[in-house]
Structures are given as C-alpha cells and as structure tokens.
C-alpha cells in the first residue's frame, strides 16, 4: 500500500514537473548531480534529468540563454551575471546543495604540517620559494595549481590568495588526479585538491586562518563544524519562473536521501 502511494506521488510529481530538466555547469558538481539524477530517475521513472559539465561559467551562460533549467556552480554567481539576468526582467534563485572543502597537500616525506593562510599566499604568489622559510628542510617549493578553467582555481585564488594572481609560471595540471600524482612523486611539491580526493600518497596540511593561533586538519568533521576554513558551497541556480519545474528534483537533493548521496560522493552535507 505504502509503495503504491509513493509511486502514485512520484508519478504525479513527475507529471507536474513537465518530465524533463537539464542541469549544466561545474565539473566539481558533476559526479554529485549525476548520481543524484540517477537515483532520482530510478525513484521517478517518468522524470528525465540530464546532467552535463563544462564549467561554472558555461552553466550560468546556458541558464541565461535558457538552454538549461539548472546551473550547477562551484562559485557564487558574479554580480554582473546577476545584473544581466535582472536586466532581462528575470529573477534567479540560489540553493546551496552541498559544501566542498579544499585540502592543501604536500609530499608525504615533507616534515611541514602547519601553514598559515599568509604563508600559503606567499607560496602560491611566488614570494616564498624555499621550504626553509616556513620551517621545513632546505628544498625548493614547487607549487601546483589547477588549470584556469576550473572553479577550484578561482575559489583558491579568492579565498587563500585574497584575489592576488598566482605566480607567473606556476605548474598547472589538467585534473585533480594529475595534481595528486605529481605531488606524490615530487618532494618539494605543494598543491590543493578537493577533500574527497585525499589519499595516502599525499600529506594534508593543517591550515590556520588566524595567523597561526589554531591549525585545523582538513576533514569532513572539521569542515562541518566550520573550524576548517577553506570550504566553499556548491550551488544550484534556476530562474524564478521555472520553480515548479525544478522544485521536485531540488527538494529531493536536499532531502535526507539526497544528502546521503552527498556524503557518499565525499562532499559535506548542508545540514
């Protein structure tokens, strides 16, 4: 009886949801949205959710042009993007679906465990060039960054570098996996990766945002209780006029079931 009721509700929801919706944008959110869509479609056989990547910026411009229903982004919508939508006489809605923490990682043999934000800024902008300057051995620092197309690159620049530019000629890798691979084989390497990607081949650094008073280890628990500072929200954006269409899916993502998937993928839940 209960099962029947659920299917009936799902069917109804599927019908009112005009059945098809498209999600486009950030590659960071891609695995999460895909998994959510997969499970959601299994629960609602009439619903069709297609998910594509391309980058946060791509998702937002697709939302403006109306070629997608939801834009998934790993950064907040920029002021001028919001302005553009308002000029067209539309309103955009924002939902935080999960949080993602960034971990700064070094080679496992590196004795340095603690770094302040100021030191990280110095390292990635090229002012600090030797591990000796931050309490390590006499060894050249080799900072690794993501490519400019990644939302992670932008977020790290905003949060850790306070909008300053990365040093000229920083090593830039096409994917998070490549960063881990390179750092695990480069003694002086340092880079940043999503928390979900951490494994034994690299060592996470404890970070301090209060000039060295407290250093926090990157972990899901610390990100959740807000003691770990390098955390960013992941967003879904949609147009106000299409609320009815996208609401069922977004509600599903925010439901306990959807948030369990968030945890499974390695992100941090909203609540």
């Amino acid at each position: 009886m209960k099962k029947l009721l659920i299917t009936a509700i799902a069917l109804l929801a599927g019908m009112t949801a005009a059945n098809a919706q498209k999600i486009k944008g950030s590659d960071t959110c891609l695995p999460l949205s895909q998994k959510e869509a997969e499970v959601y479609m299994k629960a609602n056989p009439s619903a069709v959710v297609t998910v594509t990547g391309g980058g946060s910026g791509v998702g937002i411009s697709a939302l403006m042009e109306g070629t997608t229903d939801i834009a998934q982004t790993s950064r907040r919508m920029k002021f001028n993007e919001k302005q553009k939508i308002q000029q067209n006489g539309d309103q955009v809605k924002e939902v935080v679906i999960a949080y993602d923490a960034l971990a700064v990682v070094v080679h496992p043999s590196n004795p340095v465990t603690n770094l302040t934000r100021e030191q990280l800024e110095g390292i990635f902008t090229g002012k600090i060039t030797n591990w000796k300057q931050v309490g390590g051995p006499d060894m050249k620092i080799i900072p690794y960054s993501r490519e400019t197309s990644s939302g992670t690159y932008e977020f790290f620049k905003e949060s850790v570098l306070r909008n300053r530019n990365y040093m000229n000629g920083i090593m830039s890798m096409p994917a998070t996996g490549a960063i881990i691979q390179s750092i695990s084989q480069t003694k002086g390497g340092i880079g940043y990766v999503g928390l979900a990607y951490l494994n034994g081949s690299v060592k996470p650094i404890h970070v301090s945002y209060d000039s060295g008073k407290t250093y926090t280890e990157p972990s899901v628990a610390n990100a959740k209780n807000k003691t770990y500072p390098i955390v960013r929200p992941l967003y879904y954006y949609y147009m106000a006029h299409s609320t009815d269409q996208v609401k069922p899916f977004i509600d599903y993502v925010l439901s306990p079931k959807g948030q369990a998937i968030v945890q499974e993928i390695g992100f941090i839940t909203v609540k």
């Binding site: 980058g55 791509v58 902008t125 400019t148 197309s149 990644s150 830039s172």
Partner: protein, 402 residues
C-alpha cells in the same frame, strides 16, 4: 543505352565536383572564422570588458600599461611614485568592497544610487584605483576620473612574456613563452625521433629478414593506434619520475618529458613513411650499385637514402606536424607553466595544451576567448609553413632525380 550511361557519368562527375567544392569552401570558411575571431582580440580593451578603472582627480596619472595594472592589483607596486604619480600609497579597490562601506538600503532599491556612492568613496580616497562595472561607473562626478583604456596591441601579444589570462582587471596575453615552448618541445622531439626512426626504417627495409619484418611492422603500426591520452598517462606515471630521478631534478614535468613522449608518438609515422620510400627504390638501381662493386652498406648510404630523400623529408615533416599539434599527451607531462624556458629541464606550456585547457571556461566573445583563437591562428601558420617547406623540398628532390 549509351545515352543513359553518359548521363550517369555526368551525374557522378558533378557529384564529385560538388563534393570537392564543398570541402574547399568548408576549409576556407573555417580558416576565415579562425582568423576573424582571433583578430578581434586587437579590438578589445586591456581592461576586462564592461569595466572601468577610476581614479581620484587629484591623481595626475592618465594611463597605465596592463602589466602595471596587474602589478598594482597584486600589491607588487604599492606607491603611485613608482608609476609616475605623487608619493601616495596605492589603494586598489574592487567593486564588491563598496558593500563593506555602505548598506544595501543606501544603494537604493534597484542599485540606482550605486554610482553616487562609488563616486563619493573615490572622491574621498586620493590614492584609490577603483575597478567598477561600466554601468555603475561614476563618470562625470566630481573628484572622479576614468583611466585611459587602450586596446590590446599586437606587440604585447606576440612579444609579451606573461600569460595570465584570468588576471582581473587586466589580463596578460603574452604568447612568447607559449610559442617558444611549443617549438622547443617539438624540435627536441624530432631530434630524438629522427635518428631512431631512420635507423629502424633502414633496418626494416634493407636488413631485416622477412619473418622479422612480419613481426615488427604490425607492432610499429600498433604503436600509432594508441590514443594520445594513454601516452600522456604513461609519460606522467613512468617517464616523469624517471627523468626526475635520473637527472636529479626538483620536478619531473619538464620540456624533456614532453619531447620524449612526442618522440615516441612520432616514431611510427616516421618509420612507416620512410620505410615505404626506401622500399620503393627501383630494383635496377640497387643492382646497378652492387654490380659496380659497392658493398651493401655503400648501396644503402649512397643510393637508397638519396633516392628516398623526398620520402624521408615527408616523414620528418609529418612527424613535426604531429609533434606541434599534439595536445593531450603534452598537457599531462610538461607541467604547463607559462614561463620562458631556459633549459630542457624546466616546465613549459605549449599552444595546443593552452587552448585545450582554457577554452572550456573562457566566456564566448571575450578577450580570453579571442586570444585562444589567435593562438590557434599561430599554430595554423606554423603548420602551414612546415607543409609548404616540405612541398618545396620534395619538389626540388624529384627534379634533381630526373
């Protein structure tokens, strides 16, 4: 009957003509599109599109180079004195910061008071350089002046040494390190692959037994069928740590790693083409040489290689072409640092890798997007020069042969 056949032939002929014409037109259109998008770059402004830089009127500075603007916003230049202004500390100001000084209510419901607030703030801060959206720029207000905004110049593009396309407010599009990086990696790759490839080609066509050739030839052709991403992965996991250990380097992702991977990738092309050219040497020529008393080795050196010269040069050119345009493998192993390389054992960034890595997020029509198209134009010109050269070489060779 004859008539029908004639009509049929005419139809086939016209289909062939049309398809030829269509291909030519498509290629031409692609080229035109590439160059039109690329040259748009020199019409865009140095400061990010849709934004203005505003100063306090008390400041005598009228214009800044885009490099200076970047350094100002990176806090590398901290006093106006360094760039021809008064002795006054520079206060870089990004638009969003205005919300720290005024509440949302003070902006008005639809942000209509925003320009006024910005104007007030700029007029009250003598050392300010404010980066504001065009539509909110407090132009014409008392105490505010707009910094002169130049177009991106070809000299900056082709001669600049810094590639920082995401710098706001003034992105840097200096392509010199990218061009040098691409040429360096391809050149060294060819220097490694050419002797090896020619050696294998000579062995296969002249020395190897039929059974050996039967095993080696398909194996080499198989090498050409491996996707480039696999070569890249192999390079990253195997070659990069090896190079790092052997040469005792701080990083293994170097131009040399890229060259090695490219050399391996160019080998099959060079071997197959060169071997075919050598095997096409007429039997009469070999026998004439041997009959004159030349040894096997003298025949190879003096008769077969010169005869196959044009084929060998075609092999070299095809190899270079592959190396210059290769994207994925290089993207994975060269470290992609946009600096002028001083040696083979430093990271480099190549043109194809840059385009592949950055086009995804470059907003369509923006300066970054156009700069990437311009890089495509440079690549196009390089490969065209190579193929024209090869055409000329093979023409000269065949004339000499006659």
């Amino acid at each position: 009957m004859k008539k029908i056949r004639k009509i049929f032939e005419r139809i086939v002929e016209s289909i062939l003509t049309v398809s030829g014409a269509l291909t030519t037109i498509t290629i031409l259109l692609i080229t035109v599109f590439l160059f039109r998008e690329g040259f748009g770059l020199f019409g865009s402004s140095e400061i990010e599109q849709g934004y203005r830089l505003c100063l306090n009127t008390a400041n005598p500075v009228e214009r800044l180079s885009s490099r200076q603007i970047m350094q100002v916003f990176d806090y590398q230049i901290e006093n106006w004195q360094e760039i021809g202004g008064p002795d006054e500390p520079i206060v870089p100001f990004r638009f969003e910061e205005i919300f720290n000084y005024y509440s949302e209510e003070e902006m008005g419901a639809d942000y209509e008071l925003l320009p006024v607030r910005l104007g007030e703030y700029i007029a009250a801060t003598p050392g300010i350089i404010a980066f504001v959206p065009e539509q909110y720029a407090p132009e014409g207000m008392e105490g505010v002046k707009v910094l002169h905004n130049d177009h991106i110049s070809p000299a900056d593009f082709f001669g600049g040494r810094e590639w920082v396309p995401t710098a706001t407010p003034a992105p840097q599009f200096g392509t010199l390190p990218l061009i040098v990086g691409t040429l360096l990696v391809s050149l060294v790759a060819i220097l490694i692959a050419l002797p090896l490839g020619l050696g294998v080609a000579i062995y296969l066509s002249e020395l190897a037994s039929d059974r050996m050739r039967g095993i080696l030839k398909p194996a080499i052709e198989l090498l050409a069928g491996i996707p480039s991403v696999v070569y890249g992965f192999f390079g990253l996991v195997v070659l990069v740590p090896l190079i790092q250990r052997v040469f005792n380097l701080p990083v293994g992702e170097t131009a040399f790693a890229g060259s090695l991977v490219l050399a391996i990738m160019a080998l099959p092309t060079i071997i197959t083409v060169a071997e075919d050219a050598m095997r096409n040497t007429p039997r009469a020529m070999r026998e004439a040489s041997l009959a004159l008393g030349a040894t096997h080795w003298q025949t190879i050196c003096r008769v077969i290689i010169p005869y196959a010269g044009s084929g060998i040069s075609a092999a070299v050119v095809l190899g270079i072409g592959r190396a210059v345009g290769e994207t994925m493998a290089v993207l994975m192993v060269t470290g992609n640092a946009a600096v002028m390389p001083h040696s083979l054992f430093e990271p480099v960034r190549t043109i194809p890798a840059t385009i592949a890595a950055e086009l995804g997020e470059a907003p369509a029509g923006g300066a970054h997007y156009q700069a990437l198209f311009m890089l495509g134009c440079i690549l196009f010109v390089i490969t065209m020069l190579i193929s024209v050269t090869s055409e000329m070489i093979s023409k000269r060779q065949s004339n000499k042969g006659l």
